[in-house]
Structure formats: structure tokens, C-alpha cells
Amino acid sequence: MLTSREELDAELGEAARAWLDAALAEAADDAARPQTAADDATRSEAAADGAARSGAAADASRTAASPYASPSWELRYAAAGRHCGQRHADSVRSLLLVEARAPLASITRLYEQGTAAERRAVLLTLHLLDLGDTALPLVEDALRANDTRLVAAAVGPYAADHLAPHAWRHAVLKCLFTEVPVAAVARLADRSRGDTELARMLTDFAAERTAAGRPVPEDLRTALALTAPAGHPAPPTAAPAPTEES
């Protein structure tokens, strides 16, 4: 999980702390920079088409030299693990995004141009940014991935708040398919309660696994139990009994 700035300061060495201070200052400077028309155009363009590599237009207004140039804090975003330790990379990247009050154009660019680890940090931070539901294309992209690190990061609080019912149910199912623990799904109990369609999908999946002679994931039973209406716990036999597992 993400570590706070205070906890990081306690854990990082002097050089790493200095690097983090400088990186956060650059991010804050960028946040304070007035948004340009190009930023706004990019923002709406990115909102309209999450697949576009749309950050270039905004950056061209800052650095005319190259259409591929990025603000300095975005380069630090990539190098965070090398300076602060790989185990702190998610937290440091998340802090940078929050400090920069990263607009949709920035997070879209960082996600689309990011390694899997960089994409994960974007996904883990979405709920801390003021984006409304405009970043849903990134979540949907991650849920199409088969990289379990991305799937797990995509089903956090932002997805719980903004994913439409159909996409959210498929996200739960995707976790079961790819063996991402359903514990990763934020507010699973809240959103599942009384969801008869999710219950049907889970029951069908269990039947399919049973018909194939394959075990039903324990997490499926967990999720299925949560679909019972409030005050009506699901019967323990709701999922078909597996044929081969213990």
C-alpha cells in the first residue's frame, strides 16, 4: 500500500530525501503553472479519446524543441524507484501525482507512456486526484490487460466510485479469471450487496469450471456470498460443488 510522506521521510536516506524534495518541488511548480489553451485542448482531447498519445500537444507549448519532451517531474516519475528504492516507487510516484495536481493530460501521458510499474502507480492514485470520472478510460485499459499487477491496481477506490455496473461486474470476474485476489477489489461488499446480476455471473462461472472438471476458486464463493441482499446471507451451497478439489 501507499506510504505517506512522513513515513517515507523516516525511511529514506539523506540523498533519497533530497531527491524527493526536489522532485516534489518541481511537481508543485508545474501545478502552479497557469494552464494553457494547449493544455485545455489536450485535456478535452484526452477525455474524448483515452487511447490517443495526446500529451505531446500540451508539452509543445512548454518546450518547443521536441514534441516528445515532458515536464521534469514526469521524468523523475520514471526514475523514482532508482532514487528512493523500488519498494517505495509506488508511494513516491503517487506523491508526485498529488503534488503536481496532475491533470488528465498528464496522467494519461504517464499511463500510456509508462512501464507496468508506472501505470500501476497512476491507477493507485486516481482516487486522490480531482478527475471526476474522466480517467475511466485508463481503468478500462488496465482491465483489458492480462498483467495481473495492472488488473489488481485497476479495481481500487476509483473503480469502486466510477465504474458502471456492467464494467464493474466484469472487473470482479476478471480478478477471478486471472487469480487476482478479490480482496484487491475496493468496496466489494458494498457494491456486491443485492447484485443479482453479479450473482448470476458468478454462479455461471462456477458451473462452467465444474463442468470442465476444474476447481471453483475459493474467492468466487467469497464474492458470491457478498451478493446476498442485506440481512439475507447467501446459502453456503449457492455455488455448485466442485468435482475435483478437496
Partner: protein, 282 residues
């Protein structure tokens, strides 16, 4: 036996290959970006490829207990296509990524002015990003190509000990080693080098600064050639320590110059029990 394949194109290989490589002792590899057989027509096509080398392919490798790193560059062949050369402008934002351990494959294909420019520009990018460089030597006119490559390296800001000259053979090994660069050999079923010739090269030139790779790709090639060279070395009287030096410590030392090698990938567990790569909706 632990093996590091310092040049293999896993994008073109199957999960069966990953499993066989793990079983043969491969625990780490470097995948250089290169020509895909089908020409690309825009920088965006490169970006998707680079993203795959930084995202999906390391995930696939990790499922089989193999550490995956990559080298990124505009390859020599497509350096001649003006539709592709804007990739050079975008490389800086890719070269800051964690798992990029060198700039490569760069070098010569047909030794054109466009290739001169791309090679010099990318050696400079390597120097600027404190990365080593993986330099492909041409298949045609190889010795002349090697000499021209060494000249360009000497004129660059990148010290020769940060350069790996690859696809060498008996005719190019001496000059490559004398230049101060590292020497790479690609072992192929039919072309380039074979195991026994490789053993002879090691007998004649020692085991310092020499790397052996399979360069396996979409063509006729064999991702287990590294192990086959190791076996041929042992059969020829080299020690296990010699094998470890050539097939593990030398590539670790070379790519370790990037400061970005992470070799601690957990061993696969359930994967060897019959599950293939985790794929939703299989």
C-alpha cells in the same frame, strides 16, 4: 548452472520457450529492440513495441522465473526510413525507464549516411543517460563494418568499456577485443556462430569481456543455444567457473553498468503444475 542470455527477442517466442529456458538454467535475459521482419511505417509502431518490452514481456518472463530487461533504440535497418527516424527524438523519455539497461540494437546494416547519423546520435544518448550500448555488427561486409563501428565509438563520448559489439565471429573477434569493447557472439543453428566454433574462440581469446547469446527471434534460431555452449565448454575442458563467467558474470558486469539490473525474480511455482500463463478468458 545459471545462465544470462544477453540478447534474445522473446516477443517472437512462445511460453514453451520460456519454460524450456528456465529448465535449462536461464534466469535472466536482455531483449534488445530490433527489426520485426515487417517494416514499421510510423514512430507510434515503435512506441507500442517499446511499451511491450517495458510492460507485457517482463510480466510474461516473470511468470517463468526469468528476469527480463531490455535495450531500446532505432535499429540500423529502419534508421534508413524517414518515416521511422522521429523515434530518435522520443528515445530520451524511454531511456529513463527502470528496466532499460542499454541503448540498442544500434549499429550498421548497409553502412549508409542515415545509419552513420543514427549510430552517432544514439551513442550520444547512451552517454547522456549513463547507459551502455549494444551495437549490432552488419551481416554483410562484416569486417569493414566492424572497423567503421569502432571508429564511430572512438569519436563518441561513450568509453569502449561501455560498448558491446555483437554478432562477432572468428574474423572480427580480435579487433573487437583490441578496441576495448565487450565482444558478443550469437549462436545460431545455421548461420552466425555454432557451439564448437564458439568454444574455439574462447580457447584462443580467453573468457574475459566475452558474452554468448542465442539472439533467438522470429527466424530459424534456438533459445537454448546458451546452454548448449555451456555444455560444449564443459565437454572441451573449461571449468564450471569459466562457464559461469561467460554465461552469467560477464553479462551481469556489462549490463550492470546501467545500475538498473534486478535479478531477483521469484521462481515459478504453480506454473510448472500445468497452468499456462495466466490469461483471462482462456
Amino acid at each position: 548452472m545459471r545462465i544470462f542470455d544477453p540478447h534474445i527477442h522473446m516477443t517472437s517466442r512462445t511460453t514453451d520457450d520460456y519454460r524450456a529456458m528456465y529448465d535449462a538454467g536461464v534466469r535472466a535475459l536482455v531483449e534488445p529492440s530490433f527489426w520485426l521482419g515487417q517494416p514499421r511505417t510510423s514512430p507510434a509502431s515503435f512506441f507500442d513495441y517499446f511499451d511491450a518490452l517495458l510492460g507485457w514481456e517482463p510480466f510474461r518472463a516473470s511468470q517463468y522465473g526469468i528476469a527480463h530487461h531490455c535495450t531500446l533504440a532505432l535499429n540500423p535497418k529502419e534508421a534508413n526510413d524517414p518515416r521511422c527516424t522521429p523515434v530518435l527524438d522520443a528515445l530520451p523519455r524511454y531511456l529513463v525507464k527502470d528496466s532499460v539497461v542499454a541503448v540498442g540494437e544500434i549499429g550498421y546494416d548497409s553502412m549508409t549516411p542515415a545509419e552513420d547519423h543514427a549510430l552517432a546520435a544514439q551513442l550520444q544518448l547512451a552517454a547522456d543517460h549513463e547507459l551502455p550500448a549494444l551495437v549490432h555488427t552488419p551481416h554483410r561486409d562484416k569486417l569493414a563494418g566492424l572497423h567503421r563501428t569502432i571508429d564511430v565509438v572512438r569519436e563518441s563520448d561513450l568509453a569502449p568499456e561501455h560498448v558491446l559489439l555483437d554478432h562477432l565471429n572468428e574474423t572480427t573477434v580480435r579487433d573487437a577485443l583490441d578496441s576495448g569493447c565487450w565482444a558478443g557472439f550469437s549462436i545460431y543453428p545455421d548461420t552466425k556462430m555454432d557451439e564448437d566454433r564458439m568454444v574455439a574462440v574462447l580457447r584462443n581469446h580467453g573468457t574475459e569481456r566475452i558474452l554468448v547469446n542465442s539472439a533467438a527471434d522470429w527466424g530459424r534460431s534456438d533459445p537454448l543455444k546458451t546452454r548448449k555452449v555451456a555444455d560444449a565448454m564443459l565437454k572441451a575442458g573449461f571449468t564450471e567457473d569459466d562457464v559461469d563467467q561467460v554465461l552469467w558474470r560477464n553479462p551481469v558486469a556489462f549490463y550492470g553498468r546501467s545500475g538498473r539490473l534486478h535479478l531477483d525474480v521469484p521462481a515459478p511455482d504453480a506454473l510448472h503444475e500445468g497452468n499456462s500463463i495466466l490469461r483471462g478468458g482462456e
